[in-house]
Each structure stands twice: as C-alpha cells, then as structure tokens.
C-alpha cells in the first residue's frame, strides 16, 4: 500500500502518511480476535484527531500540531483491527467543496486529474478511488462526504446527527456536522458505520446504537417502499446529464417494486443561504480558540502584547476562505444584525425540519442528485465564492435537518461519475442501505 501511495503522489490525496504508526498497529493486531476491520487500510480526514500523528485540518496554522489523544471514531476503528495509513487532504477546516482551499495544495480527481475530487473530504475520496486506501473516514458539515463521493464514483454517508461521536473532530459547524464512511461499495459503508456507532460520553450529543447491524439490511427487497422525488432537487443549475442518469435509476427502482411519486421541498431554496449563515456563525465561534499560544503557529518575532500576537498568528495562519467565513460569521452574530441573519437562519431551519418531518409521513425516503454538476475543473470556481457555495444546494438540507443521507454512484457522463442521493428520517440508515444496495445493483457505474 505504501509503495502505491508513493506512486500516486501527484493526486495529493494525503497530507501525512503514517507508515511507522501503521506498522505498530499491524504488529499489535491479533488475527484470532473477533474484529470486523482486521488489517483494513483506512485513510482518515485530517480534521479527525490521531494521537501521535499530526492533524493539520489542511491549515498552515496547525502544520505541526500533533494531538495527544485519538478521536472517538479512531479508537473504535483501531479497536476493530483497522490500520490508519495516513491523514487526507481537505479544504482548510472543512470550508470548501473542491479540496482546493488547502494550505497543502489541491487534491486531484483520479478519474481526470484536471478536475477536482469534490470536497471538503476530497483527499479521503481520491485515496479510496485511486486504490491507495481500502476505505476512508470523512466529515460532512454541508455535503463534505457526499460531494467527493459523488465526484469520485464512491459511496459516502452522512449519518444522522448524534449517531457518530464527534469527540476529537476539530469543530467547524458543530450543530451540522458528522463523521462518516467513504468507500467503494454500500456494503463497506454499512460495515464501517457498524463499527463507529458506539455511544461516546465525551460527546454530549452522541446517542449511540451500541454494536449496530446495518450490514444485515443490505439485501432486503424494496417492494412497496415509498420514495418521494422532490422536483426542487432538479433545479435550473442541474446538468441535464445528471438529471437523466438519476431519473433512469429512479425508473429502474420503480421496476423493482418501489412506489415513486414526485413531490416538492418548498424550503429548499432557503436552505442554502440559511445553512451558510449558521455554518459561518458557528465557525467564527469555533475557530476563536486558535490563538497560536498553547499549540499551533506562532510568530517568533515576538509581540508587544497578547492581542497583537493573536492577530498576527491568525492572519498568517488562516487561508483566504477561512478568513472570509470567520469575518462573515462575526458579522452575522454581531449586535444589530443577529436578528436579521443568525436568528432568522435558525428560524428558517425550524421550517425546513418540519417540512421534512411532514414529507417523511408520506415517504420512506427521498431521492435526487447529490451534486447538480459533474466534477468541475481545478480553478474553475475558486475566485467566485458564491458559485462554489451553490454547488452544495442539494446536500445542505440533510445537515440542516440532521437527517442521514448517502451518495451512491448511479451512472456516468464523459467517463465522469454521477452520484444519486438518498435521504431518510433520523436514525433510519437501514432504509438508506436497503435502497442504496439496490441502486448499486442496477447502476451502470463500476468503480475501477
């Protein structure tokens, strides 16, 4: 595996390769023990803390930061025999949809290196797609697992909020984000999820499902399952080739016995601006901890007072997109604007949640495209923040409402993969896996 990682260095999927630590983990593995991930090579997104392996979040500010503890999910997968082979590239602190906003340079899409792998967990997806990791963990604040899964022809799941421990995940938008699997098959995603759902007392929002058994839901039939297709998910920005491929799969599901009906999510067009206000506000608060004093980048020239050192470390350490979001978040939370922006967005969030609650009385699941477009070119959207934000239009509603959502490959156009998204009610990942494994069976996409 490590030779292959070296051969594919041009993809820039990894920020840190942890060969020595992997050897120690492999030596410790007990083949006789009943573990579910024995010797599985796993790539971990670089905002998930790993004891003794540097965790940069794709930021210059944390270039040399080495955590003293493992994230809850890392303890759980290592306990199941998995071997962490490295830490993957990402948009700085998770802020981006293309893995171009990294202090360590952009990651490339293995299917076409002139294109982005999606983001922000683009390194994790590129590593799995290129065969330089068996499976990977990413994190998803507004689509950061599903977008790169879609762009790299993989399966990626954002679990229900609270299902997976966030302990040790460096916070960006803490009311929105979850850690989840990125893999080649629905079966692998179900297996990896089964291994990370234990309740973690160190994350107060962790609910815990004990030793989950999602993997048993895979081959159940979908006869009579009620699927809603919100027309709003096929908005004017949606590429015709994406629409065609997703609808072709929906018709195939119908032939398998699914009851398909078109519907609407009226609040969809408000969920993107509301999402960005909340995410930026939470970011401005969560990233206030980075002062360069206890850890992280510090200007060695010395400063006359604490405040000017604080300012210098952050101005030098954060990239442009992170600065943009922190400043915007500070604005949205400031006296005079908090009602018009932050609280308004939280009220809109309530409306979005109740609309989904109502929809899930009529439907077992909702289906649409994961991304409105095919993978775009490196550099195509970096100078236009709004155009980059718009790519998240179909993924953010699941984060706003805390719902589980998966991206499964359903076809391709010009040799580039297309992903289909399935959303279900909270803690009904079983429904997602049932439909997801059927999509996989009928889809024309085969990952290389």
């Amino acid at each position: 595996m490590f030779d292959e990682i070296r051969n594919k260095v041009a993809l820039n999927a990894y920020i840190t390769v942890s060969k020595d630590q992997a050897r120690v983990q492999a030596e410790k593995a007990d083949p006789k023990r009943d573990a579910r991930l024995t010797s599985v090579a796993i790539a971990v997104k670089d905002n998930i803390s790993t004891a003794g392996i540097r965790t940069t979040c794709g930021s210059k500010l944390l270039e040399d930061y080495v955590p003293t503890y493992d994230a809850g999910v890392v303890s759980q997968i290592v306990d199941e025999g998995a071997i962490v082979v490295g830490k993957t590239n990402m948009d700085e602190f998770g802020m981006g949809s293309s893995t171009e906003f990294s202090a360590f340079g952009p990651t490339r899409n293995p299917y076409d290196e002139s294109r982005v792998p999606g983001g922000s967990s683009g390194g994790s997806a590129a590593a799995v797609a290129a065969g330089i990791a068996d499976v990977a963990l990413g994190s998803d604040t507004g689509g950061s697992i599903r977008c790169p899964a879609s762009f790299c022809g993989l399966v990626g799941l954002k679990p229900t909020y609270g299902l997976v421990s966030r302990f040790g995940l460096v916070a960006y938008g803490n009311s929105l984000e979850q850690i989840g699997p990125i893999t080649k098959t629905v079966r692998e995603t179900a297996l990896l999820l089964d291994c990370i759902t234990q309740k973690d007392p160190r994350d107060a929002t962790s609910v815990g499902k004990g030793k989950a058994q999602y993997i048993e839901e895979l081959d159940a039939d979908i006869d009579g399952i009620r699927i809603g297709i919100p027309s709003d998910f096929f908005g004017p920005g949606t590429d015709g080739r994406v629409t065609k491929s997703v609808w072709k799969t929906i018709h195939a599901l119908e032939e398998e016995g699914a009851l398909v009906e078109e519907t609407q999510v009226k609040s969809l067009k408000y969920s993107l601006p509301a999402y960005y206000i909340i995410a930026m506000s939470e970011a401005s608060s969560n990233l206030a901890r980075f002062d360069g004093l206890r850890y992280g980048l510090q200007d060695k020239k010395g400063a006359r007072d604490w405040s000017s050192l604080f300012i210098r470390d952050r101005s030098d350490g954060f990239g442009s997109e992170v600065k943009r979001r922190i400043i915007m978040g500070t604005f949205a939370l400031s006296a005079g604007y908090i009602d018009e922006f932050y609280l308004k967005a939280q009220r809109v969030r309530t409306i979005i949640r109740s609309e989904f609650e109502k929809l899930f009385k009529r439907f077992d699941a909702l289906i649409g495209p994961t991304m409105p477009t095919l993978p775009f070119k490196v550099g195509e959207k970096t100078s236009d923040p709004l155009a980059m934000y718009m790519t998240d239009i179909d993924t953010v509603p699941a984060n706003m409402a805390g719902l589980p959502a998966i991206s499964v490959p359903c076809g391709s156009a010009d040799s580039l993969p297309i992903g289909l998204q399935i959303m279900a009610p909270p803690f009904r990942e079983d429904i997602i896996f049932k439909i997801g494994s059927m999509v996989e069976k009928i889809s024309s996409w085969r990952s290389s």
Binding site: Y65, R202, L293, S307, R353
Partner: protein, 98 residues
Amino acid sequence: MGGNEKLKPEKVRRYANLSKIELSPAEEESLSNELSMVLDYFRLLGELDTSGVDPTLSLAVEGNDDLREDKPVKCDPEDILALAPSRKGRFVKSPGIL
C-alpha cells in the same frame, strides 16, 4: 442594513478586527465586494415569513442528556506543554495581556 447596501471596506475592517484578523487594504477591498454579494444572497431569507417560529439552536436528541462520570483521565502534562510554541518551565509563555 436594509436594501442592497454594500459591506464597505471600513466595515469589513471592523468585523475583521473583532475576529482578530488583520487584512491588507487590497484584501479589504476584495472582501468588501465578495461579502456584499454573499450578503445580498443571504437576504433571500427575508421573503420567508418566520414570525412565531422558534429558532432551532441544537439538534441534540431530547432526553439524551446524561452526564459522564467526573473522573480524571491519565495524562502527562509534559505531552501537552510540548505543543506550546513558547514556554518557560511548566508554563506556556505569552506576551502581556494589558
């Protein structure tokens, strides 16, 4: 901030200051344009009537609020102090606050 008022460079500087971030005049200028566009987009929410709607501040599952046992975790203070860019003995070194 009604209508399509622009987020002027002076204002960008003010919120950057509150965020403990220093910007060059060129950065202030470009952020002023970019953030004004983003803000215009955010104003779309004004269309939606939210009177009488409570804000969703958290998605934590109700009733899932048991506290963990309050007991110390084994940790070598040296491991943590070793992360500090400047230190003096067993203290993290910082310039004066005032």
